[in-house]
Amino acid sequence: MTPGIPGTGIGGLFYMLSAAALPLREGYRRLWSGVAAARWRVIAMQQLLAAGILGGMWTTGWLLGVLLSSARTHLVAGPVPASHNVWRTATFALSFATLIMVVCTVELMGFLARLRARRRERLASTQPTPIARAPRRIAAGGSRGRWLFLLLVAELVSAADPPRTVSQAQSATGRALARAESIYNTGDPEAAIDAYAAVLAIDPKNSRATYRLADLQRHKPARALPLFRRYVALEPKDLWGYLAVADMLSRLGRSDEALRWSDSALRLDPTERDAVLGKARVLARARRTDAALVAYRAWLATHPGDAEVWQELSRELVRAGRPGESVAALERSQALAPDPKVGRRLAVVRGLAAPAFTPLVAGSHDSDGNTIWRFGGALELGAAGPARFGIEGSRSHVGDGVSGADLDALALRTTWQPLAALRVDATGGGTRIEPLRAVAGSSAALEATGLIRARWRAPASRLGLDLRADRGVVDASPLLVANHVMRTQYSALLSARLAGPFTLRGIGKRATLSDSFEVNHKTMLSGVLAVAVKPSLELSAQLHQIHYDRASASGFFAPWGVQVVEAGTYFEIETPGSVVLAVDAGAGVQRVAQQLASQSPGGQPPGGGGGGPPPFGQPPTGMQAHTYGPWTAAFRLYALLDVPLAPGRAFRLELDSEDSQVATTAATSGQWRYGSVIASLRWAFP
């Protein structure tokens, strides 16, 4: 593209003068900068061209003079006063004067722009930095002689390489910015940060430097955020500024603000990809997975060829518990733009979605000498939609060194996750209790077992509800198994995020422990105040109160009450190789209410045999208020190690250790300690 009409007008003259000034410019550069970028051969060629064009222009003027004089000779009677030289000179003078006028007008505008920049500079700093002083000296020198022709020559001579030489024509800001950009391009972020800061010292309202300075510190969101905010104030119509603010707020966990900024960006251009996806990413980071899925799907409905978004959709689908759909999304991405990284990710997700078999072996031992061994496995069918089905079974042996009991369990299970925020797990089946060899007359029995659990989490994890009902065999000791003690428990956990990183949780459990002879009820209330130090680290203060309706020590330890106060922590560590370590631990103190302090001889608590259990939290009639024993140490630990071996194959190790009444459903004595290990291997079928 050649703007203008080459050969005519002032363009030819401008470039001719430019070429003529080249030797002067090169000399200037050599003298002041020691740099000679342009090749002398090229310069010489341009000189020749300029000379040739000058000759052409002279010929043009001469021909024009001849032609017009000739025309006048025919039109006007008498002698022709004008000579050919008049036309030639007039043509050249007109072109030259026009060129001078145009160039000087531009130079004057540039000069005024620099004046404004310097005024801003003076306002910004009364003590100019070294960067700011140099242009002042240059500008002062430049103001000594500014007549028209020299201005043109100065323009030609001083149009130097910006990163290497100081130009009279550039403003201080422009030079500092050019220097910063040059450093930025070399890939030295620390030096670039200093350089852009220097630009802002000269021109605090320089939007480009503001953005770059912020952008170089994206990994420090708290530092970058005010800079991006300032950039938005300077460039309110640039939606990328809003997106950057949203990104920083999102990284700082301020999801609601981040969403508001994302919406502002969308208002500027609802069709802009980065604006649409920027909001989707904020939603995803805020764990508003369902909303993020809607946003990604809306974009893909109109842009189905966007491979990157298919990948992001896939990630969210995994979070939403839909690995089958996630596989389809990744396959779509691969079809559009094959990428080895995505291929590896696809293999992993296929492993999650595929049918799998998980054999497990578990062992536990407690301080009363009870040992449990369990061998079993689970088979899960492939994930196709929101529901997933499977079957699980195990054989357990419970022994105490004297006697032993065996249990066989088989159950169907299903997981249904219609929304990312709602998940329902259900298991139903039976446990066959083998007859005890040591107990004469003992017979086998089949007990129905099952579990149903619904978990709902509000967007951004503000509110969470976990409801659970389950029925199972209490297999803490051979005696409990022999008595066919069953536990039916209902529990609810309500979690509410308070201001900032604080979360309050309330837990309530009500369990019925029954065998063929008696029924007991256990009630537990807990309050937890948790603070999320990091997304992967939580600290908490916990208070638990446990109460049994019927205090007893026969078979399992059921004191009238237990109080536990502890400090807890939960953290997750994930390595680059996706090895995950999760730890949930608590340590504190507990005390147990002395049982049977003043029970009536009939075995009934004072207050009447038909009166039922006393109200929760109140000691039974006749029991002393000081029946709580001394505070003793409490401890619990749960650790999970998940090691992916290959796509679809993962080894998992779980450790559980308890010295706390809170952590178990049925301790067998008051001084109970417990430890268990579970090892499993998930093996997906290709």
Binding site: S18, L22, E107, A159, L177, L216, E235, A337
Partner: protein, 359 residues
């Protein structure tokens, strides 16, 4: 100035000599089945072949994508037509994973060493773009010949001088190499004007970057063969130039030499064009002599000098001399289109927004 980048990456310093491995070529294509094979083959036969060639099949209906796919290059297709070359190129930018990106039109073939010739320009960190010498692939019709002379003149004379001052006016859209990080900083190629190459070049200058012209790197685009096609291209270019002047004039004031070059080009495209088209006929009428109309070609000696020099280097002096008359026709048509564009943009306020393919 707006920075169009959500997460621009910081490029690693390159300590080894740049090679084709550092280059991804983007070829935007809309119904280019006839010409794209030559373009791809010329890219594949480069002395420094690019790491990847990405053809953006902008929803063509003539099988452009299949032709490209058959030649073993990456073909991507946006869900809907992007509406402009800039849109297609920017669509492909997200697929680029190399330090350098080359944009080549689907009707342009490169000299076998063109990429290799451009690479050294990027050894200097501040260089964000580099372009080469452009010559028409076919020189047969009046319009192709006119364009041939125009290119010989501009690339032998104007652009060489601009390069000596470190300020090539435009990094040509038909063949240019860019530093990918800078492209991302600027959000790729913008479609806010009809001349995305000029827009990007001027944006790069204002960002403190350098642009280089490497005359040894030669490319050969197909130029419009007919008046209709030439008219569409000139309309787009003339509007694009004026739109860019309106968009960038304030920022260009801080870029030495370029500001003057743009001002001079703007004068020649508007005022001088008006004088050229109006003054000579008026003079002919006032003076009552048709000889004045010779003024339309009277600067031929000045034009001939760089054209002949450029043609001699390529051994094409006969073709150049034979094409000179076509240049004056094209120049006149060019002036008309620039005046129309100036009137539409400045007087009537009718900004051209629809991108029409020029050939």
């Amino acid at each position: 100035m707006a920075v169009r980048a959500l997460q621009p990456k910081i490029e690693r310093p390159l300590h080894r000599p740049l090679s084709g491995c550092d280059v991804t070529v983007i070829v935007p294509a809309y119904n280019e089945a006839e010409s794209i094979a030559s373009t791809i083959e010329s890219l594949q036969s480069q002395t420094s072949p690019p790491r990847e060639i990405i053809v953006v099949d902008d929803c063509s209906s003539d099988g452009t994508g299949n032709v490209a796919r058959a030649l073993g290059v990456t073909v991507i297709r946006p869900p809907t037509n992007t509406g402009s070359k800039a849109g297609a190129q920017t669509f492909a930018l997200r697929h680029v994973h190399t330090a350098l990106t080359v944009a080549v039109d689907a009707d342009t073939v490169l000299q076998t060493d063109a990429l290799e010739r451009l690479l050294p320009a990027f050894e200097k960190p501040g260089v964000a773009a580099a372009c080469g010498f452009v010559l028409p692939q076919r020189v047969q019709t009046l319009w192709e010949r006119g364009r041939y002379v125009e290119y010989l003149f501009a690339f032998t004379y104007y652009k060489q001088v601009q390069e000596c001052y470190g300020r090539p006016l435009i990094s040509s859209g038909c063949f240019s190499m860019y530093r990918t990080a800078q492209l991302r900083v600027h959000g790729g190629w913008s479609n806010r004007t009809m001349a995305e190459d000029m827009d990007l070049t001027w944006s790069l200058y204002q960002g403190g970057n350098e642009v280089r012209f490497v005359p040894e790197a030669v490319c050969y685009p197909i130029e419009p063969r007919t008046f209709k096609l030439m008219g569409q291209q000139l309309r787009r270019w003339s509007h694009g130039f004026i739109q860019n002047v309106r968009l960038h004039w304030r920022g260009l004031l801080s870029v030495p030499y370029l500001r003057s070059a743009v001002a001079v080009a703007f004068w020649d495209a508007t005022i001088a064009a008006a004088l050229y088209l109006v003054l000579l006929p008026i003079l002919a009428i006032v003076l009552r002599t048709p000889w004045v109309l010779l003024g339309y070609v009277i600067d031929a000696p000045a034009v001939l000098v760089p054209v002949i020099v450029g043609a001699v280097k390529r051994g094409e002096i006969g073709r150049a001399l034979a094409s000179i008359p076509a240049f004056f026709v094209l120049r006149t048509v060019n002036a008309i289109y620039f005046l129309r564009a100036a009137a539409a943009e400045f007087v009537l306020g009718r900004t051209l927004r629809v991108y029409e393919k020029g050939h």
